[in-house]
Subunit: 538 residues, 2 copies
């Protein structure tokens, strides 16, 4: 089983992505996760390009990573300056890493038009830079920028550049598809040429401008590269870098290469979501291997086959990468989907069975209004319980609420104040008020304040995410609005949904479901614990 080095550049090239912006603290947290996942290299930043990148290295070296080598990135020395006088290279050494990765030009057009030096000078620049860094560091990787474009345009010169780096002491030459437009055939041919020209180990660094970065990286490995550079979730400039989250399982599970440990591979889904969370990106539900939908089955036909034998519609066992199977409820879902879903939620399918036809009708109608339960399991479970019990589970009754938002001067923040009156489980009235950072926050806060009197457990519950979606894009704030509320307590997370043309009403529905679900779930757990205790003493 051949070992392939995984080289992560999420913290450097990934941060070129339009919406990716990591603080130093976030970068350190990502580095720790990457190390635990088992990558071989973590490129931490370009110390010469901005202060935030430079600030990463000192605390990073203090993390005591077990698996990964931290790498400082930079570019070859400037023209007309000796390597030991180049401030950029000095900053690489100041980073205090044992390895560096340095990008240099290998496309004649680029040398002529962008760098504006002669071919010979470019070769000297590469050679000097490598020699200088190799004398000071354990490992020096040469990133051959535009290697594949260069090799197509003038193969001799591009290969000369590789040789200059190898002669200078580069420990690995990484072949870059910088523009991201190559196809696997181009990669195979280019890598083969490099294999024929130098003895130094090779790496592959691809971008996704043709939606080919994963395939190209794998073609690179198959042609002889021993290192793959990429980013978590494929974040990066333009269309992104090669996605390590797909590359690692493809190499390991499909082609028998060894990248990370088997147990580490099980944290792939978690790693992917962690990086999205820190980068404040909505995870891509359809992402290969780790997406929430990656093993989700909607069509009635597929779903029933999957229940019988998962491998008919699943290319791998989802647990291998830390993901799991889901069966979706939707318009297209049939009876069997619904019963499967009930079972997944711990509801006895036999109890639900007689109500299924009615429930399917109701679901269809709600989805027509704009409800979507695929992302709101808690609201869906409440709906199932309503079908079984004949009426909606409610723990309190609203008498009324009012929220006032007021702004009195151009430069003054508006205030939001909610008053609310509710009736508790035994008919008692509670009337209270709260401020908030906006109308929904004020209502949420007043509502909990009122209910905690009847249900102290509400204290431990928190709102962790609040999403608003205007369903009919044509009408701006006048359209139907779907609100998703994610709540959290010490035992887990749940999501609820509300839909209305009025954002306050939609939010209210989702908040009420969140509280009803919390109390229902606590009751269910208490009952299960009671039964378990009864069994133990029996």
């Amino acid at each position: 089983m051949k070992r392939i080095q995984i080289y992560d550049t999420t913290l450097r090239d990934g941060c070129q992505g339009e919406e990716v912006d990591l603080t130093v603290e976030s970068k350190l947290a990502v580095a720790e996760r990457l190390d635990a996942f088992g990558v071989s290299y973590i490129e931490g930043g370009w110390p010469g390009s901005n202060p935030r990148d430079a600030a990463f290295f000192e605390p990073a070296m203090a993390l005591g990573l077990r698996n990964a080598t931290v790498v400082a990135f930079g570019s070859t020395r400037r023209a007309g300056v000796s390597a030991d006088a180049d401030s950029n290279l000095a900053m690489i050494l100041q980073a205090g890493t044992r390895a560096a990765c340095v990008v240099g030009k290998t496309w004649d057009l680029h040398v002529r038009e962008a760098l504006r030096v002669s071919r010979e000078e470019n070769l000297d620049i590469i050679h000097d830079t490598m020699r200088f860094l190799a004398a000071n560091l354990d490992e020096v990787i040469f990133d051959a920028e535009h290697f594949f474009d260069g090799w197509q345009a003038s193969p001799d010169f591009t290969v000369e550049c590789l040789k200059a780096a190898a002669d200078g002491g580069a420990t690995l030459l990484c072949l870059c598809d910088t523009r991201g437009g190559s196809l696997p055939g181009d990669i195979t041919a280019g890598v083969a040429a490099a294999v024929g020209a130098v003895d130094t180990p090779l790496g592959i660094h691809c971008h996704n401008d043709g939606e080919m970065a994963v395939a190209n990286s794998i073609a690179g490995v198959q042609a002889g590269c021993v290192q793959v550079q990429g980013t978590v979730n494929g974040v990066g400039e333009r269309c992104g870098n090669a996605n390590l989250v797909s590359i690692v399982p493809n190499l390991q599970l499909k082609l028998g290469y060894e990248c990370v440990g088997e147990r580490e591979l099980q944290s792939l889904t978690e790693l992917s979501h962690f990086v999205d969370e820190l980068a404040n990106r909505e995870p891509n539900k359809s992402q290969a291997y780790v997406g929430r939908s990656a093993f989700a089955h909607k069509a009635g036909l597929h779903a029933s086959a999957v229940r019988r034998q998962a491998q008919t519609y699943e290319h791998i066992e989802p647990g291998i990468v830390g993901n799991h199977q889901r069966v979706l409820v939707s318009d297209q879902a049939g009876r069997s989907n619904l019963l499967y879903k009930a079972k997944e939620l711990g509801i006895d399918p036999a109890e639900l069975e007689p109500k299924v036809a009615e429930l399917l009708e109701e679901l269809k109608e709600l989805e027509h209004k704009g409800f979507q339960f695929e992302g709101a399991d808690a609201s869906f479970e409440l709906l199932l319980m309503k079908a079984i019990n004949g009426e909606k589970l409610r723990h309190f009754e609203l008498v009324g609420f009012r929220v006032i938002n007021e702004k009195r001067h151009e430069n003054e923040e508006p205030i939001a104040e909610a008053t609310i009156q509710v009736r508790g489980p035994d008919g008692e009235l509670e009337h209270t008020a709260s401020m908030g950072n906006g109308p929904v926050n004020a209502i949420d806060s007043a509502l909990r304040k009122a209910l905690v009197k009847f249900y102290p457990a509400i204290e431990e519950m928190q709102l962790v995410d609040y999403k608003v979606r205007v369903l009919d894009d044509k009408r701006g704030t006048e359209g139907m609005v779907r609100v998703l509320v994610e709540s959290h307590d010490p035992s887990g997370h749940w999501t609820t949904v509300g839909v209305s043309p009025n954002v306050i009403e939609a939010s209210w529905q989702a908040l009420v479901d969140a509280i009803d679900y919390k109390l229902y779930k606590d009751g269910k757990r208490a009952k299960a614990a009671g039964e378990a205790a009864a069994t133990n003493t029996a």
Copy 2:
């Protein structure tokens, strides 16, 4: 130049995607766009599976499409029923198309475990179904489900299935990577086996479970397939289908195949966004070829090289697929990015030059607060104008507003009522009020009502989208909130941004910028028109 048939299944397989749900009207609108784009086939739905799919075909046949053949989808006859007595096949014929695509099993495991018939019976089922449909239609495509898995497990049987379809009269055999887990090498080998076994033309149908669907589809074509099945933007179940939006330009621009006309290819970006809009999906900014970031440059180094020579960091000229280059403003952006951006907005870089250092500082600070101008060009332009003119452009002054949201009964929709007082350009006060579907809508509506008295042009302006993002996911509705408002008038669209811990304040900032930008832009246009008129009479 070899012609490749593009077979779109957005309306059938694409609608299996978790968040894709198209009405019949939307499906018809997509069909017209696909036809105009030049696809060869449009799979409209599975008439036997749900009423919505069945309802598509009658109006679809009446559209009078010029390029595309509409195809009805179905599955092979049931076991134990003759083809002419099978209701599913009858519904295909009732759809009234001249072509059908029928899926049949070709993996022995699937035949045994899912269909539960003998291998011989499966061959009969395929053969009968094809013969029955071929006698009634011009074209019958056989979708060989699980072809690649089947071919790996028991190649002889899988090839027998293809032969049964060909003997029955199938006009094309489409090889399906149903689980989406194959790699290009598997595809190449499988297609080669099929090419060797049958004379019927072949197609390729891939799924993206290994992030390989585009590469696999292209490997299929290179191995001899003449048809590619896929969906717009790769929508579809689990990780999606093969993305035609990447496949078409890869085949046409990189490999010299002919799929659609050159002019039609220029509508690729528009087609992609149109389908996302109808499916109510947020377009993927990083999508290859058509994403908003696909030709966006953030890094100062790249951006300055791109300005000199676009091909250094762009694999194709963006206009070929209807996209365009963007240079981003961000923390990492340097002076040259900013000047380029100003020029793009029609602002004289020389005017801005002396203020650049100060402006970069201000941008950094605003971005630190959570502002993001990458998606809010109008707010950014106002910021540039402020830097040049020394103070912020404002057309009115807020004296104060108040919004009341009130809900008086469980089953009553809440009301939202805003009152507002503003001071106009000559100091006149205007005090008015409006209802709305929520607090922001009520404020927006009261504000315009007040301002239209001073600025009648505000009448023609509309809010078309309103997006809220909680920036710190840890704190729920208490976090910083970023609001993006998209506005529209007869001359175009513009987007503005606001950030605050209070959603009402953030919305207010974005609304004010939207109005200020509208009036500023009208003034700029009037001035340009005046100058043009002066030049013409000179």
